[in-house]
Every structure is written in structure tokens, then in C-alpha cells.
């Protein structure tokens, strides 16, 4: 349904070209949940925004192909994009506190979107808005519809944003770290809500996150990004259980146990590369424990079946490393 091929986004900056996304390809099937993980600055948001024409920087260059239901949407005019955005593809953002216009009631803002894409009357759109607010679990939607964003808590606002994103029955929902700004209990509720809504609306989801826990909970397939490049792509079960890329090992090692209160990322040794000078070879090379000579050459995505990774390690090497690790892990 969504098919992205070799997406590249670079910004011209004073320090030279910043390649925020560098050759990203993935597919999202119907009703599929695709997770995108990676550290801060790995280009997850930029990739999503550039697909939808939401990167408004005069210094940006975007290339590649993004096909939505067979139709190329990269390079569509703003006008043509308007019916795609909010109509076919809904978006949910990281910070619900700032995502809504502060001076209008939430009902007004949902009605505005519905009326931009359908020819419902104000009254019908309002009824729908109330219905949606009820569906996303806002108590007493009939009166809450006339409240302003600041009168809602963060979690409730995120529910409003979800209701808004779903208001035109989008086929695809893109959620950029929808739970990062929320507390842990609310995070779980919002994720549950998204799964529930995905079931009843039958939309596909692309969910961006830092959090392998979120991936494990929601995603069918995973893209692991590092420095704008895909490091590993595959079905969720495979990537989480049998990760192939050393960076993914790091990320997974970084997931605290499910019972721990704080799900914050434990950092991987070394700092993420600056996207201004990503090495010619493997982007993760400088931080990798298993670095080899050949890593100066850029690895291509390859692998068995639909589980791909960009790493030069051979299967035998990986097996050895992983078993050594699990022994160490078991001993500790």
C-alpha cells in the first residue's frame, strides 16, 4: 500500500550537506503496523515528513520514490498533497501539548479537518467529532467537544489528536513518537487505543519510536535506522528475537526489562554520528565493537528472506558473538 524506494533527504547547511535520510526503502502492507526505531537524530521524523511534503525548508533536497496505493506522491503539488494529507494519511505527533492550535476548541479543529475533506455540513461534522471523541475514550464527549486544548491533560490531548487523525478514515496513520511525551501509564493506554482504533478502522500504521518495548507491543515489521540509513529491516519477531545488526543488539540491550518503571533508553556506548559527517563505509562502524577492515566499505542491505540487514559480519561470526553474549548475560 505504501512503498518507499531509496528515499533521500538532504539539507544544505553552512557546514555542508546534511544527509538526514540516506537511501531508505520499505513497504507497508494493508493493515500492517510498521515500526521505525533509531536513536535521536537518525532521520525518522524527517523521512516521514518529507514523504508528506511537511518539510518546509528551502534548503532541502528530496529524492526517491514514495508510492501510496500505486500513485507516486513525492513531488505532488501542494494542492494535490492536501487531499492526501489528513484524508488518506493521518498523522499523530510527538508532543500533544503543542500539536493543537491553542485558540480553538478541539471540536472546531476536528470539524475543520472533516470539512476540508468531505462535504458534510457543520452539524454532521460536529456529530462525527463527538462520536470520535467518544471512541477514543474521552468521557462526556458532548460537552468536552467545546473545550479548548489547554483544558485537557496530555494524554487526553493525544486522544484528541488521534481522533482528529482518524476523522477522515485514513488508510494509513503515521505516528511520530506518539507516547514519548506522556507518562508510563498513559503511554500504555495510548498504545492500546491505537491498536484498538487500528482494528476498528482497518488502517495501516507507521509508528516511530525510540522504544523497543513499543515495537514489541505494536509492530508487525520493523525498520531500524541509524544515521539516516536503514540498518536492519524485518518482521518484528525476527528482529527482536534474532537481531542481526550490531546496532540493533545495542538497542535491544538498551531495553530495560518490562517490569522496570523507567523505560528510558540506556545509551549505547559512543555518541551517535553527526549526520554532517557520516563515514563513507558503515555508518555504525566507529561505534561498533565488531568492526572489521571491510567496514570501510558501505554495506548493502541483504539477508535471508525478508529479514535484511546492512552489516558485513558473516552468519557464523554473528552466531559466535551472540552465543558468547548470551553466556555472559546468563552469568550476570
Amino acid at each position: 500500500m505504501l512503498s518507499v524506494r531509496d528515499l533521500r533527504v538532504s539539507f544544505a547547511t553552512r557546514q555542508g550537506a546534511l544527509r538526514a535520510v540516506d537511501g531508505l526503502s520499505f513497504d507497508v502492507g494493508s493493515k500492517e503496523v510498521l515500526g521505525i526505531v533509531g536513536e535521536s537524530g537518525s532521520g525518522k521524523s524527517v523521512a516521514m515528513y518529507s514523504m508528506l511534503g511537511l518539510v518546509r525548508d528551502s534548503n532541502v533536497t528530496i529524492s526517491g520514490s514514495v508510492k501510496f496505493e500505486g500513485r507516486e506522491i513525492l513531488g505532488l503539488s501542494d494542492r494535490e498533497m492536501q487531499s492526501v494529507r489528513g484524508g488518506d494519511i493521518g498523522m499523530i505527533f510527538q508532543d500533544p501539548m503543542t500539536a493543537l492550535t491553542p485558540v480553538y476548541t478541539v471540536g472546531w479543529q476536528i470539524v475543520e479537518q472533516i470539512r476540508a475533506h468531505t462535504d458534510m455540513t457543520k452539524q454532521q461534522a460536529r456529530e462525527r467529532a463527538i462520536g470520535l471523541l467518544g471512541e477514543v475514550g474521552i468521557p462526556d464527549p458532548k460537552s468536552r467537544v467545546d473545550h479548548y486544548p489547554h483544558e485537557f491533560s496530555g494524554g487526553m490531548r493525544q486522544r484528541v489528536v488521534i481522533a482528529m487523525a482518524l476523522s477522515c478514515n485514513p488508510k494509513l496513520l503515521i505516528a511520530d513518537e506518539p507516547t514519548t511525551a506522556l507518562d508510563v501509564t498513559t503511554q500504555a493506554q495510548i498504545l492500546d487505543l491505537m491498536l484498538k482504533m487500528q482494528e476498528s478502522y482497518g488502517s495501516s500504521i507507521v509508528i516511530i519510536t525510540h522504544d523497543m518495548g513499543v515495537i514489541a507491543e505494536m509492530a508487525h515489521r520493523v525498520v531500524v535506522m541509524y544515521a539516516g540509513r536503514p540498518a536492519e529491516i524485518g518482521p518484528e519477531v525476527d528482529v527482536v528475537r534474532y537481531p542481526r545488526h550490531p546496532y540493533t543488539w545495542g538497542l535491544l540491550g538498551a531495553v530495560p526489562r518490562v517490569d522496570s518503571k523507567n523505560r528510558r533508553l540506556v545509551t549505547i556506548p559512543g555518541t551517535s554520528v553527526s549526520p554532517l559527517d557520516v563515514p563513507e563505509g558503515c555508518a555504525f562502524g566507529p561505534r561498533c565493537e565488531h568492526r572489521m577492515e571491510i567496514c570501510d566499505e558501505r554495506p548493502v542491505l541483504h539477508g535471508p528472506g525478508d529479514h535484511l540487514d546492512a552489516c558485513w559480519l558473516s552468519d557464523a561470526q554473528r552466531l559466535a558473538i551472540r552465543s558468547a553474549r548470551s553466556v555472559a548475560g546468563g552469568a550476570s
Partner: protein
């Protein structure tokens, strides 16, 4: 919202009271000066001084003197100028106020329209040639001194081209709108434009900066993700939120101008408004009139601020709770 308005009005009344006390103390209770001599003006005879002392109770305690003064000003309305003997203060102010109000309200309408249009057009055309052009004209207009601009406008409309293209411009002065609305507007046209020119530029610049900031806000990204048109996003979302800061700027400027800050424009354009009255009273050291003008000015500044706060609350739902 209603309780907000009521609370705001009560605080306005308190502020006015405080201001009247301050003004009174500064004018009439400064230690070491004989207030009677101040009130009576420079060339007062001993009899007049005696009269003033009796009328204002100057040998009684300060609170009583304050009350007496306020009684003269607001209840008996018979505070009198001793410089231009017999001129009562209040009627002079009441006569001058409509002139100032006409000047400032008319100019404000023009500068708001021009400023908002300029700001929106500049922000919508960022990076194109028209944006820096508007910003340049804006900064140029702001930098011009009021009296200089007034004199230049006068020179062109009243003398240089008065016999040719500007022959329809009446000589300076004021005509009440109840006598002749057309002449009222005609007499005020160039004063309006002059005053508006001084403010429209800064409003355009401030609004443009606000809009450019607003267009980078998260809620604008949400609006784009909703599939709204750029035009709608700019006008309904970014402009609507940016107006909040324009309103607070406007409240300050408007209050100050009504309160007498249009003095330069009034004097240069020969308009007998509050600014002119203050200017003349200053030159004659006519204390009662001056105090009347200051009180009047304070009243409008406080009132304008109260109105702005109410507007603010109306524009920004977050303020209503506070």
C-alpha cells in the same frame, strides 16, 4: 468571561484611584513649594492666593485636600484655571477630547489595516522581493520623527501644491462630525495618514515576525497534516494566534495616544485636542489644566488597557482562567 470582565473593571477603578492620588501628590503636595502659588500661576496677586487657599483647603490635612480637589474635578466640575482666569478645566477637556479621539481612532483604523495587511503579505511572500520591500518601508516609516513628517505633509498639502493637486485639502483645524461629517473626515485625512504612517510600519514588522514564528509552531505542522490550504493555515491559525501580541501592542499605543501622546501631531497639524491643550497648559504653567489633562490621560490609558485585557481573553482562551 463575564466574571473576567468584572474583575478587570474593578482593578481598573483601583488603578485609577491610585493614579489620582499619585498625581495629586506630585502636583500639590510636593514638600517645600507653596501649592497655592502653583495653582494660581506665575502672576498671582495676594488676594488670589488667599482665594486659592480657601478653595482648596490648603491649610487642612492632605487627605482632606485630596478629597476637595477630587470634588472640584469630578463632582462640582468647577476646577478653574487661574492663568486664563475663569476658564473651567473640565469643559476645556471635554471640548478637546473628541478631537483627540477622532484623530487617534481614525489613524488607528488605518494603521491596523495597513499594518496587518503588510505583515500578512510579507509573511506569505517570505523570500520573495515584496517581503524585504515591505519591511524596508516599515522601518523607514518608524524612523521618521512625527513632527518632521507632519511638517512635510503640511508643506506639500497646505502650501507647495495647495493651489494645484491638493486644492481640495481644507486649512488645518477641526470640524465636529455632528456639524459636517464630510468636512470632519476631510480635515482629519492628512493628520490620520501622518499618524498612521508612524505606526503601520512597526505593526507590519511585528506581525510578520510573529507570523513567521507561528508558521514554525507544532500546531501549524498539525494543520498542514490535516490537509488544510496554506492560505487557511496562515489566516485562520497563524494569524489568529499572532493577533494576540498585536492586540497588546495596540493597547499600549492606543491608550498613550488618546492620553496625549499624539501631542506632536496635534500641534503640528493644528488640531485643538488634548495634546494641544496639554502643550499650552505646560507653556503657561497652568497647573489645574495640566492636572486635568494628566487625569484624563491616565483614565484613557487605564481604560484602554482594561479593554485590551478583555480582548486578550476573548482572543486567547488560556487567559480567561487566570
Amino acid at each position: 468571561m463575564r466574571s473576567f470582565i468584572i474583575r478587570r473593571l474593578i482593578s481598573a477603578v483601583l488603578v485609577l484611584f491610585a493614579i489620582s492620588v499619585m498625581v495629586f501628590l506630585i502636583f500639590f503636595a510636593t514638600p517645600g513649594v507653596d501649592p497655592a502659588a502653583r495653582i494660581a500661576g506665575r502672576s498671582a496677586t495676594p488676594q488670589i492666593l488667599e482665594q486659592v487657599r480657601a478653595a482648596f483647603g490648603l491649610n487642612r490635612p492632605i487627605p482632606i485636600r485630596y478629597l476637595l480637589m477630587m470634588e472640584h474635578l469630578f463632582i462640582k466640575h468647577d476646577l478653574t484655571s487661574y492663568v486664563n482666569v475663569g476658564d473651567r478645566v473640565l469643559p476645556q477637556i471635554l471640548q478637546a477630547a473628541p478631537v483627540t479621539l477622532s484623530l487617534v481612532i481614525g489613524a488607528a483604523v488605518i494603521w491596523l489595516i495597513v499594518g496587518v495587511l503588510g505583515g500578512v503579505v510579507a509573511a506569505a511572500n517570505r523570500g520573495k522581493f515584496i517581503d524585504p520591500l515591505i519591511m524596508f518601508v516599515g522601518i523607514a516609516a518608524v524612523s521618521v520623527p512625527a513632527y518632521w513628517l507632519g511638517e512635510v505633509v503640511n508643506y506639500f498639502t497646505q502650501s507647495k501644491f495647495h493651489s494645484s493637486i491638493f486644492s481640495w485639502v481644507p486649512s488645518s483645524g477641526y470640524v465636529s462630525p455632528t456639524t459636517n461629517p464630510w468636512q470632519w473626515a476631510l480635515h482629519l485625512l492628512f493628520p490620520w495618514l501622518t499618524l498612521a504612517a508612524l505606526y503601520a510600519g512597526i505593526y507590519a514588522r511585528v506581525l510578520r515576525a510573529e507570523l513567521v514564528n507561528a508558521m514554525n509552531e507544532d500546531y501549524v505542522r498539525t494543520a498542514r497534516a490535516k490537509g488544510l490550504s496554506e492560505r487557511r493555515i496562515l489566516l485562520r491559525h497563524a494569524l489568529r494566534c499572532s493577533l494576540i501580541s498585536i492586540v497588546s501592542l495596540f493597547g499600549l499605543d492606543f491608550g498613550a495616544l488618546i492620553g496625549g501622546a499624539a501631542l506632536l501631531t496635534e500641534v503640528v497639524m493644528g488640531l485643538p485636542g488634548i495634546g494641544m491643550l496639554t502643550y499650552n497648559a505646560l507653556q503657561n504653567l497652568d497647573l489645574p489644566v495640566l492636572m486635568g489633562c494628566v487625569m484624563y490621560g491616565a483614565f484613557f490609558i487605564v481604560l484602554a488597557n482594561a479593554v485590551v485585557d478583555v480582548l486578550y481573553a476573548w482572543l486567547d482562551p488560556r487567559v480567561r482562567l487566570a
